[in-house]
């Protein structure tokens, strides 16, 4: 479904070109949920944006459903994007539009007429169980509800792919499972291929069929859920092991690794 071939993405920075994504190839099968995990700055969000060309790769090919997006014209790319929904860490809803109007927006951009927009937006809000919040503005919704509106907005145009950029990083743990459940349902019911970028291993464990571990712009390791759940499974890379262990380890003897001015300041208190 999604074929990322030798994709690199560099940005110009004050200290010269910075390579956010470094020669990544990744094959994501139709109807699966692909997790991409890594620390901040590993390049996972840039790689996700390479899939719908929000960030144009410096080199390489991105095939979605057999079409190389890199070669498309602006207009063709915009049409193609109606097939690729996206949700974000901070929801990115329009504050001055109701839930219903927010969902209608993606349909409007897809050129759907007004009456049809209204009908399909209401239908999609139904999928995320927010029909009763159709007339509510985002400010009056909880974090989880906002993300569900965003999911509805992404789904309204009937996409084949849903890109999720840290979809649960701004909501509390209980809401996390609810949001992930909706994503899992969407995947199961409509066969939508989902790509989830996150730094939370429990999210990956809960939802991903396949996992790609990223570090410094490269995919350093890939494994699937079955492997991950096998007792005694050890990722090959240290970063993979660290992420899978999903534990915070501290030295509480008071001789921790950092003896910065800040920690010294704490001692004096």
């Amino acid at each position: 479904m999604i074929e990322i071939q030798n994709v690199s993405t560099s940005f110009a920075s004050a200290a010269g070109p910075f390579t956010a994504v470094d020669d990544v190839s990744l094959h994501i099968r139709r109807g699966t949920i692909q997790g991409i995990i890594g620390f901040s700055g590993a390049g996972k969000s840039t790689l996700l944006r390479n899939i719908n060309l929000l960030e144009r790769p410096t080199s390489g090919r991105v095939l979605v459903d057999g079409v190389d997006l890199v070669t498309l014209s602006d207009a063709e790319l915009r049409t193609k994007r109606h097939d690729i929904g996206m949700i974000f860490q901070h929801f990115n809803l329009l504050n001055n539009l109701t839930a219903q109007e927010n969902v209608e927006l993606s349909l409007k951009f897809a050129g759907v007429g007004k009456a049809e927009r209204r009908r399909r937006a209401a239908e999609t809000l139904e999928i995320v169980d927010l029909a009763d919040k159709a007339g509510t503005y985002p400010a009056k919704l909880s974090g989880g509800q906002k993300q569900r509106v965003a999911i509805a907005r992404a789904l309204a145009t009937g996409p084949k792919v849903l890109l999720c950029d840290e979809p649960t990083s701004a909501v509390d743990p209980r809401t996390t499972s609810s949001v992930l459940q909706y994503l899992a349902d969407v995947n199961a019911e409509f066969g939508i291929t989902i790509v989830v970028v996150t730094h939370e291993m429990n999210v990956i464990k809960a939802i991903a069929d396949n996992v790609a571990v990223m570090e410094e712009g490269r995919v350093v390791e890939q494994f699937d859920l079955a492997e991950l759940q096998r007792p005694g499974f050890h990722p090959a890379t240290s970063i993979g092991r660290y992420l899978v262990s999903d534990e915070i380890q501290l030295d509480r003897s008071g001789r921790g690794t950092h003896t910065t001015a800040a920690s010294e300041g704490l001692i004096n208190v």
Partner: protein, 221 residues
């Protein structure tokens, strides 16, 4: 004292009418023409949808140039332009031209500022939905900036009530000019105070009205 005020009441009425005419023509025109200019400034700016450094520098400089003119000097400097546009260089119509010319870049800056404060999140979301640049401007940026824009229009209107007082220089009239003529030139302090009270009222009404509309439009809380 009250007799005197009653005596010139018709003239005060005319003056208020002139001030309102100036505002009701200049402000809508500034919004109409300043909005696209402001959108363009934002769009081709460093954080815009289509960065065009050279064009941006030129437009940016032009806006700064117009904004640097003290209003009184602009009023005189563009007299030929005024004659060309409204066919006269005196009277209320003649003041509206420099008022508008001053207000357009003024409002364009407000628009630019309001748009750049929105943050990239909604724009990125719109792009991911396959929106074109004009759709992003119309259906996302303007929608989100609307309450801020109404506040900007309010601020601009209040500023231009003050600017319009200089209209007397070219015989444009208005309530501010009335205050200057009767209060300053003729030492009729009660008349000046009357005119100033009217201006305070006008500013208060504009401010209260503007704040009310902005609050109603703002759904962030």
């Amino acid at each position: 004292m009250f007799d005197r005020i009653l005596e010139v009441l018709p003239e005060i009425g005319v003056a208020m009418g002139q001030t309102l005419t100036m505002l009701l023509v200049a402000i809508p025109l500034a919004v109409l023409l300043g909005t696209p200019l402001g959108v363009l400034l934002y769009t081709i700016g460093p954080n815009g949808l289509k960065h065009r450094p050279k064009l941006h520098r030129v437009l940016d400089g032009l806006v700064n140039l117009l904004r640097s003119f003290p209003f009184l000097i602009l009023l005189i400097a563009i007299i030929p332009v005024t004659r060309f546009i409204v066919g006269t260089t005196i009277g209320t119509a003649a003041v509206i031209v420099p008022l508008t010319l001053n207000a357009i870049p003024y409002f364009a800056r407000f628009v630019e500022q309001n748009l750049s404060q929105l943050g990239g999140g909604v724009v990125e979301a719109a792009r991911s939905m396959g929106a074109s640049r004009s759709q992003i401007v119309r259906d996302v940026l303007i929608v989100e900036a609307k309450p801020g824009l109404v506040s900007s229009i309010t601020i601009m209107t209040v500023s231009f009530i003050s600017y319009s007082a200089m209209a007397g220089l070219v015989g444009g009239g208005g309530i501010g000019d009335f205050a200057i003529r009767y209060g300053y030139y003729r030492y009729e302090t009660p008349l000046m105070i009357t005119a100033i009270v009217l201006m305070i009222l006008l500013v208060t009404i504009v401010q209260l009205g503007g704040s009310y509309v902005a609050r109603r439009l703002d759904k962030r809380l």
